[in-house]
C-alpha cells in the first residue's frame, strides 16, 4: 500500500479514526461483539436507543427477513437511562472509540431530561436524537415526519446539553430535505440518515402479519438506493455533516455514500451477518483510496454535491 491516506473524519466536533460507525440498535451495548473485534478500531459506536425508563419492547415475532432486507419491530427495548449509565457505559468507556448515545422519548420533555442527564456524563461523546421512534407526543411517527416538530424538539434539546447533537432522520417523509433543514435550524451539529423504511410482511400460511406489531422497519441492502438518494439530497442542501447509512454491507457500498456527500457512514444490519463488517469496511475504504490515489477520505464527499439534476 504505497500511498498513506487519511481516514480520519470529524463529525459534529467528534473526531473519529475512520468514517465507519456502528449504527444504533444493531450493536447492542457493544459488549455483545467484543469477542469478535477490537472495538478500538471503530470510528464510533452508537448505542441502542435509550429512553428515560426501561422499556420491555414489542411482543415477538419482532423480526422477519425479506428479500435483501430485514424487518424489525423491536419497540425500543432498552434498560433505561440510569441502568445504561451504571451498567452499560462502564464497559464502553474502556475503549478509545467515541460513544454516541441514541436517545428517544415519548414526549419532548423526556428527550430534554435524558440530554440534561447525559450532559454530566463524561464518557459520552455525543447524542444521536432519534426523531423517528414510535409513540411520541405528536401522534407517533408523525413526530419525526413533520418539520416544525423536529425544529422545536431539536432546539429544546440544544438548550439542555452542550454535547454534540446528531439528529437521526426518518426516511418515511415526502421531503427529507425539509426535515434536515428543520434539524439544522433547531441547532443540530449533524444529521444521520436513514432510519428504517416502514414496511410489512405477511405469512400466507397463517394469514397473519409476519410481525406481531404488524408493521416494522426495513433495513439492509434492499433500502440502499433510497438511502443513497436521501443522503445525496440532504448533503446537497444542508451545511451540516451527514452520517449516511442504510444497507451498507461492503466497502463499495460505503464509498457510494461518501461520494454522495456523507462525511461518515454507519453500518447496521451488516453486523448481524458479519460481526467484523465495520472493520472490514473501514479497511476496504482505505484500499479504495490507495488504489485511486485519493489521499484523504474527506475528498470523496466533494463529488456528489456537484451533481445537479436536469429536471
Amino acid at each position: 500500500m504505497g500511498l498513506k491516506v487519511n481516514l480520519s473524519v470529524k463529525v459534529a466536533g467528534i473526531v473519529m479514526r475512520n468514517p465507519v460507525i456502528v449504527a444504533a440498535g444493531t450493536f447492542g451495548y457493544g459488549e455483545e461483539y467484543e469477542s469478535f473485534l477490537n472495538l478500538n478500531q471503530l470510528g464510533a459506536m452508537v448505542t441502542k436507543g435509550i429512553t428515560l425508563q426501561p422499556r420491555k419492547g414489542n411482543p415477538p415475532p419482532r423480526i422477519v427477513e425479506t428479500d435483501c432486507g430485514l424487518l424489525n419491530s423491536i419497540g425500543l427495548e432498552n434498560v433505561g437511562l440510569e441502568v445504561f449509565i451504571k451498567e452499560k457505559l462502564p464497559f464502553l468507556q474502556r475503549f478509545a472509540t467515541p460513544i454516541i448515545v441514541n436517545i428517544c422519548g415519548e414526549k419532548e420533555e423526556e428527550y430534554v431530561q435524558i440530554s440534561e442527564r447525559l450532559d454530566e456524563v463524561e464518557a459520552v461523546s455525543g447524542l444521536e436524537v432519534n426523531v423517528s421512534c414510535p409513540n411520541v407526543e405528536k401522534g407517533g411517527m408523525a413526530f419525526g415526519r413533520e418539520a416544525g416538530a423536529v425544529r422545536r424538539l431539536v432546539s429544546k434539546v440544544r438548550k439542555a446539553t452542550k454535547l454534540p447533537l446528531i439528529v437521526k432522520l426518518s426516511p418515511n417523509v415526502t421531503d427529507i430535505t425539509a426535515i434536515a433543514h428543520a434539524a439544522e435550524d433547531g441547532g443540530a451539529d449533524a444529521v444521520s440518515l436513514i432510519n428504517t423504511l416502514l414496511g410489512m410482511a405477511i405469512d400466507i400460511e397463517r394469514r397473519k402479519p409476519g410481525l406481531a406489531n404488524i408493521t416494522g422497519g426495513l433495513s439492509g441492502p434492499a433500502i440502499k438506493p433510497v438511502a443513497l438518494r436521501m443522503v445525496w439530497e440532504v448533503a446537497s442542501v444542508v451545511e451540516l455533516p451527514v452520517i449516511g447509512m442504510g444497507g451498507i454491507m461492503t466497502p463499495e457500498d460505503a464509498v457510494q455514500f461518501l461520494l454522495a456527500g456523507a462525511t461518515a457512514v454507519a453500518v447496521g444490519t451488516a453486523n448481524f451477518v458479519n460481526p467484523r463488517a465495520a472493520l472490514e469496511i473501514a479497511q476496504g475504504i482505505e484500499e479504495y483510496l490507495v488504489k485511486n490515489k485519493i489521499p484523504d477520505v474527506n475528498r470523496l464527499r466533494e463529488y456528489g454535491v456537484k451533481w445537479k439534476k436536469q429536471n
Binding site: 469477542s35 469478535f36 419492547g57 415477538p60 419482532r62 439492509g220 448481524f272 458479519n274 460481526p275
Partner: protein, 309 residues
Amino acid sequence: MKKSAKALKPKLRTVKLSELVLMWQGKVRILVNEEVGPSCFRMALEAPQVASEARAGQFLHVRVAAGYSPLLRRPFSVHRISGKLKVESLKLQNIEILYEVVGKGTKTLAEKQVGEELDILGPLGNGFNLPGGLETAILIAGGIGVAPLLALAEEIVQSSKPKVQSRKVDVIIGAKTKKLVLCEEGFKELGCQVRVATEDGSVGYSGTAVDLFKESLSTFNFGVPTEWVASTVYACGPEIMLKKIAEMTYERDIPAQLSLEGRLGCGVGACLGCAIKVKNSKGKGEGDFSYKRICKDGPVFEANEVVWD
C-alpha cells in the same frame, strides 16, 4: 409428591457456561453433508476452534450463502462433537449439525459439496445444565429436535465416566413416521435406553413423544416420587410439544430444560430480535413478565420460566 420434589430440586444456572468460553467466527471446511432421512441432513465441519469449546445446547450461526439470499445467518444446534483423540491434551476436531430442509436457507445448505467452506459463528448461547446430583436424564425429542439431544447424551455419558456414579439416560424419540425417526442408533451406541413413538404407529409406540412420555410416567419407574430429585427432563421439538411438556413437568414438579427455537437476527444478543416471554422471578401476576433473548439467554430455558401464548 409436589412438595418433597420441590425441596430437593437442584438449582439450575448457577454457572453461565457460555460466558466463560470464547466465540469464534470464520470459515470452516465441510467434511460430510449427507441425507440421513427424508429432507434431513447431517453435516460435519472441521472446526477445532469451535468443537473444543462447544457444549450441548449451544448453537452455530451459519452463513449459508455469500450473497444476500438469504441475508441472515441460520442457527443450528450442536449435534455432535467428534474426532476426539484419546490423548487428553488434544482438542476435539469436528462439529456436526443435523438439519431439516424447510426453506431457502436449509435448501442452499443441502446443496453444499464436501470440501466447500462455510462461514460460521459459534459456539453461541447457553448450553444445557447438568445439575450435580443428576442421576437420570430424560431426553424427549420431537422430529428434528433430536439434534441437540444427541450432543447432550454424549456429554452426560462422558461426564459420568471417571468418578461420578454412572448416569442413566432415557430417550424418547417422537416422529411423524418411521422414516423420520432419527439418531436411534446413535443414542443406543451411547448406552441410552431408547423408546420410539410415531404418530402413524409405523414403528414403536403409536402416538406423539408427549403421549409416550405421559404413559412412561406411570408405567415405567420414572414415576417413583423420590427418584425425581435427581432426574431432569430435557426436551427439544415443536413448540406445541414443548408447551405440553412444560405443563406436565410443572404439574408434577419435575425439573425440565427446553431448547427453544425462534427467529434469530444477530445470534449474539445485540439486536433483541429473538425475544421470548418469561415470568419475572419476583413477579406474581399473569401480566408480570419480561423478555429474554433466545440466542443469548437461551436457547435452553427452564420449562417453568417460559410464558406460552
